[in-house]
Structure formats: structure tokens, C-alpha cells
């Protein structure tokens, strides 16, 4: 009986075991690439539905309901629509760069998936410099955005692209610095190592982890150009920003890159601060029972689907009743919950002004990330209650001081000498 936790790992190993020794390494590589290449577009498609549904509910609407039950086929129809749309390249555009840019945007977004630890031993490549790889690869996206904006020969595109580059450079710094604390505490750059170091306590439960999590997540949101940091594609100012001149499948690629990067940001926040695939030992039958109840109660699904869904969930719960909830469910669940927060931000906050955006990065997050390194040092060097108290108070005081210092100076009422 295979454990549910290692189900996919075992399946992959069994499949590879059928091959000859010479083929196995290559097949292993192909399998990993294949799984990521197949999963990434599927994840992206359903993230769009997820976002549309949640944002609609926040605006008292239904969201997509017409294509399929609960609008479940909407992403497919969108994809089909994108495929058959005309691909317009503006006159005077750099045709080659215009073509390359969206592809270059998607490639790093998919490359990031290689080091996401989806579960215990479920990571495509466990790089020992995984963390470095994450930052190195994710910053390639800005080249693509600038390339696309510039190649479009459109002032809106160029403006969006310039904003994007400025924003990305600014937010990269606090993003990296907030992770330095983790490297200090865990002593490893491997993502598996970082997740395993959180077995006892998720880093978000420590003072420096909490501050670092906020810093990292906010800079991540800014790096992937999502609201409220969506200056590069501010639709009320720049039409659509850097992808103004894109249509059809190229536009879909931009969209895909954005969603995959947003997903990756959520996944890395989970891996770095929210315990990755670790979770409290809740028995699996509880989750299976909940799933069975949900699929039985889903009134709009056809009856056979509901029946089979409920039966399959209940059967799985019975089969693996002795096990806790598997690691990959924990990881994906946390990631999607964090993606909900992203959508929640989008539903709540208006776009920041350019100077507020830069101010947040350079005047608040960057100093806080630096102080956070000191706080992490205090936390790990001192014995338990002292270190925690010291680092917490240090962070609170510095956050308060930063807010005070950043407060705009109250100018005196201006009097005009020549007015009277």
C-alpha cells in the first residue's frame, strides 16, 4: 500500500523503473519537464477562473457561470478564443522582439516551477542554491517586459515598460533582503532544507519571520505587477501598459507569465515562511469527508458526477484513513489560500501613485528588511524568551520609527507676500 503522501513520487519511480538503466536519467528529466510543462498552463488557466470568481463575489457578482457548470469550462473557451484571434503587430514595430518578448516572459515563470517544493520529495530539482536560482530567474521577466514594451513602438507600452523596470529593480532589493534572514537561520539555500527547518515552527510565527513574510510577499506582489502595484499596466492611465499592442496568443502568453509568476510568489512565500508542505497532523479522513460532503452538496453538478465525486472522496478517505493530510495538499492549499489574498488585495486596494510605490520600497520595506536581519540575528543568538522579545520589540520600534520618519512634513500655511 503506497502512502498517499508519496503517491506521485512512487508512481514516477515505478514508471521509471520499467526503463533500462541507460534511459532512466533522460526519462527522469523528460518526466519532470513534462509534468511542469503540462501543469503550468493548467494551473494558470484555473487561476484566471479563480481570480474572476473571487473578484466577482467581492463585487456582488457571480463571475463566469455560463460556460460549463459553475463556469468551469470558461478558461478553455478563453484559451480557444485567444488561439483563433488575429495576431496584430503594429506597423513600425520590431517584429522579432515583439515575438520573442512574451515567450521570454513565460520561460522564467515556468523555470521557477522547477524548484517549487510541492511536497515531501516532490520537487523537480532540489538545487543546493535554490534560493539564489529563484531570484536570478525571476528577475529575467523584467527584460521581457521592457523588450515587449519597446518593440511595440507605442508610447503607452514604453511608459509601462519603464515603470515596470523601475518597480522591479526597487522591489527586488527588499525581497532579497527579507530572505537573507532565512539563510542566516537555516544555513541553507536549498528550498527543501528551508522547508524542513520549519518542521517545529513555521517562520511566520517568529517576529523576524512575520516581518520578513510581509516584506517578501509585498515585494513579490509588486514584482509581478499585480494590484495595488500594477503601475506598468495601469489600465486607467496606460491603456494596458507594456502589452497594449499584443493580441491573440501573444497576449495570452503575457497573461500566463503574470499568473504563473504570481502563483510562484505565493508558492515561495509558503515555502520560505509558511511552513511549505508541513502542516498539523490532521487525519486525512477528515479532509476526504469534507470533500465528499462538498461534492455531494454541489447542487449544480450533474447527479452522476456528484455521486462519483462523493464516492471517490469517501473511498480515498477510507483507504488512507490512518494517514495525516498529505504534504502536497498542504502546500497547494496554502498556496491557493495565499493567492486568494492576492485577489483580495486586488479587490480592495486602489493603485498606488508612482512616488508612493517607490517610497514604500525604498523608505519603508528596505530599512525594515535590513533591521529584520538584525532581528533574526538576535532571535537566533539569544536564548528563547529573551531573543524573541528583543527582536519583536526591535521590529515594532523600527516600524513605528519608519512610519514617523516617513510621515510627510506638515508645512506651515503658505502666505503670499504680494497677495495683498
Amino acid at each position: 500500500m503506497t502512502s498517499l503522501d508519496q503517491l506521485f513520487v512512487h508512481a514516477a519511480n515505478t514508471a521509471l523503473g520499467l526503463l533500462s538503466d541507460r534511459l532512466r536519467p533522460w526519462a527522469s528529466i523528460a518526466l519532470r519537464i513534462g509534468v511542469i510543462a503540462a501543469a503550468a498552463p493548467a494551473i494558470m488557466m484555473y487561476l484566471t477562473l479563480y481570480e474572476r470568481k473571487v473578484i466577482a463575489r467581492m463585487q456582488n457578482r457571480f463571475g463566469p457561470t455560463r460556460v460549463g457548470v459553475y463556469g468551469l469550462l470558461q478558461p478553455l473557451s478563453d484559451g480557444l478564443k485567444m488561439l483563433i484571434k488575429e495576431d496584430v503587430v503594429p506597423r513600425g514595430a520590431d517584429r522579432l522582439l515583439h515575438l520573442i518578448a512574451p515567450i521570454l516572459a513565460v520561460v522564467p515563470a515556468i523555470l521557477l516551477f522547477a524548484v517549487i517544493p510541492f511536497g515531501r520529495r516532490m520537487i523537480a530539482v532540489d538545487l543546493n542554491v535554490g534560493l539564489l536560482y529563484v531570484f536570478a530567474v525571476s528577475s529575467i521577466g523584467s527584460y521581457a517586459i521592457f523588450m515587449g514594451g519597446w518593440a511595440s513602438r507605442n508610447k503607452f507600452s514604453v511608459l509601462g515598460a519603464m515603470r515596470s523596470v523601475a518597480q522591479l529593480i526597487s522591489y527586488e532589493v527588499p525581497g532579497v533582503l527579507s530572505v537573507v534572514a532565512i539563510i542566516m537561520v537555516t544555513g541553507t539555500l536549498s528550498l527543501t532544507g528551508i522547508v524542513e527547518a520549519q518542521a517545529g515552527r513555521w517562520f511566520v510565527a517568529t517576529p523576524w519571520g512575520f516581518a520578513g513574510c510581509l516584506t517578501f510577499f509585498l515585494s513579490g506582489v509588486a514584482e509581478v505587477n499585480r494590484t495595488p502595484f500594477d503601475m506598468p499596466e495601469a489600465e486607467s492611465e496606460l491603456v494596458a501598459g507594456f502589452h497594449t499592442e499584443y493580441s491573440g496568443m501573444k497576449f495570452a502568453l503575457w497573461y500566463m507569465a503574470e499568473f504563473l509568476e504570481a502563483f510562484a510568489v505565493c508558492a515561495f512565500t509558503v515555502a520560505f515562511f509558511l511552513g511549505g508542505w508541513q502542516g498539523p497532523a490532521i487525519p486525512f479522513w477528515a479532509l476526504a469527508g469534507l470533500l465528499a460532503a462538498i461534492s455531494a452538496a454541489a447542487a449544480k453538478l450533474p447527479l452522476p458526477v456528484r455521486f462519483v465525486g462523493a464516492l471517490a472522496s469517501a473511498g480515498a478517505g477510507l483507504l488512507w484513513r490512518a494517514e495525516p493530510i498529505p504534504s502536497w495538499i498542504w502546500f497547494l492549499g496554502k498556496t491557493y489560500a495565499l493567492f486568494f489574498v492576492l485577489i483580495w488585495f486586488r479587490g480592495t486596494f486602489p493603485r498606488l501613485r508612482a512616488d508612493q510605490l517607490m517610497g514604500l520600497a525604498w523608505k519603508f520595506l528596505l530599512p525594515l528588511a535590513l533591521v529584520n536581519i538584525l532581528a533574526a540575528g538576535l532571535w537566533s543568538a539569544m536564548p528563547f524568551p529573551v531573543g524573541t522579545a528583543l527582536s519583536a520589540s526591535l521590529l515594532v520600534v523600527s516600524a513605528w520609527a519608519l512610519v514617523r520618519l516617513n510621515h510627510p512634513a506638515q508645512l506651515d500655511h503658505r502666505t503670499y507676500v504680494l497677495a495683498d
Binding site: 473571487v54 456582488n60 483580495w344 488585495f345 479587490g347 480592495t348
Partner: protein, 204 residues
């Protein structure tokens, strides 16, 4: 001193409440923590469910006939045609025989053609107001979408004809008003009534 981030959290709270209010379980959750909540979904899923219109909702005019479709109240006086602001009404008539004498049905002249272009009509109800015979009234049907601009959106006399019963059904109070007016008129003209004139259904 305001605490850092409270406004941000309050804003997030507003959207989360709106989100939860759209789900039954969310409303249960909100009530459990003591937040009063009503169904947040305000969308009417149009083709599946329809909005309840008020009686005065109007969209497009129709011609009223009393008992049989040839007994229409319109006498082809063309006042509505002249008064129609976007000029969407086109009337040919009244019907005449070869000698040029007006033909009559049920004691009234009648139009040969009576077309209204749906694409031009702006639902202003001026035709109804100016009609001295209460022969034209506003309908509350609004689903006329068609792929054919000129064929299907120009309504001819046959398509426009609807019974007084139908009018009474969709707009009871307005129909009662019209009936009362017609009855009063009938009472005024009744004494010298010729036997050829059929009795008005409202007075009957």
C-alpha cells in the same frame, strides 16, 4: 495616534464581508460572529430568471383590436406618424376602394399598412398620448433581438395587432382608464348611433 495598517485592514474587512455575503455558508459564518448580513448577490441571471417589471414598464407600441383582429381601433388618422419624434411609424391609408371612397370595417376606416421600425423607436410613448382613439398602446415585451436589421425589426400591421384583452392583462390600471374614457365617449355618441356600429366591448 492611529496604529499603522488599521485602515488597510479595515478595507480588507469590507471586501471580505462582501465576499462572504454572497455565499450561504458565508452568511452563516458572519452571523455566527455577530455581523448582520443579507444576500450580497444582486445579479439577476437574465435568461434563466427575469426581473419583475412594474406595470408601467414600456418598450414598444402595439395596435389594439377589440374582438376580432379586423376590428382595430386605428382609423388611420396618421397623427402618431406625424408626432413620432424619430419618425419610426409609417402608415398607408386609410383604405379606399377604386372610386376613392374610404372603406370601412366595423364602421371605421382602417390603415392599409401600418409599419413601425423597432430599430428607430425610442419608446417615448408620444404616439399613445396623441392617439385620439386609444388605438395604440405600449407593450412590455422587450426581447426582439434578430440578426436581420430590415426584415425582422420592421413590424407590420399583422405583427403589431394585439387584443384589448392582452392590454388589460399586461396593464390593468391603464386599460381600465382607457376603457372608462372609451365608455364615456360611447355614451356621448350613443343616442344617434347607427345600427351598423358594433357595440363597444367596454360598454357591453
Amino acid at each position: 495616534m492611529t496604529i499603522l495598517g488599521v485602515g488597510v485592514l479595515k478595507g480588507l474587512g469590507v471586501t471580505l464581508k462582501t465576499f462572504l455575503e454572497t455565499y450561504p455558508w458565508g452568511r452563516v459564518l458572519l452571523r455566527a460572529v455577530g455581523i448582520p448580513s443579507a444576500n450580497g448577490l444582486v445579479t439577476i441571471q437574465y435568461p434563466d430568471e427575469r426581473q419583475q417589471h412594474s406595470e408601467r414598464f414600456r418598450y414598444f407600441p402595439f395596435l389594439v383590436y377589440d374582438k376580432t383582429p379586423d376590428d382595430l381601433r386605428c382609423v388611420s388618422c396618421k397623427i402618431c406618424e406625424q408626432e413620432c419624434p424619430p419618425a419610426c411609424i409609417h402608415i398607408v391609408g386609410p383604405a379606399k376602394d377604386e372610386q376613392g371612397r374610404p372603406l370601412k370595417a366595423h364602421g371605421r376606416t382602417y390603415p392599409v399598412k401600418f409599419d413601425i421600425d423597432m430599430a428607430i423607436c425610442m419608446s417615448c410613448r408620444i404616439c399613445v398620448d396623441v392617439c385620439p382613439f386609444d388605438a395604440i398602446e405600449m407593450d412590455n415585451q422587450y426581447e426582439f433581438a434578430s440578426p436581420d436589421r430590415f426584415g425582422r425589426l420592421v413590424f407590420d400591421k399583422q405583427q403589431l395587432l394585439k387584443s384589448a384583452e392582452y392590454f388589460k392583462q399586461i396593464k390593468p390600471s391603464e386599460a381600465a382608464e382607457v376603457d372608462a374614457r372609451l365608455a364615456a365617449k360611447q355614451a356621448k355618441t350613443a343616442p344617434p348611433a347607427k345600427p351598423a356600429v358594433p357595440p363597444n366591448p367596454s360598454s357591453a
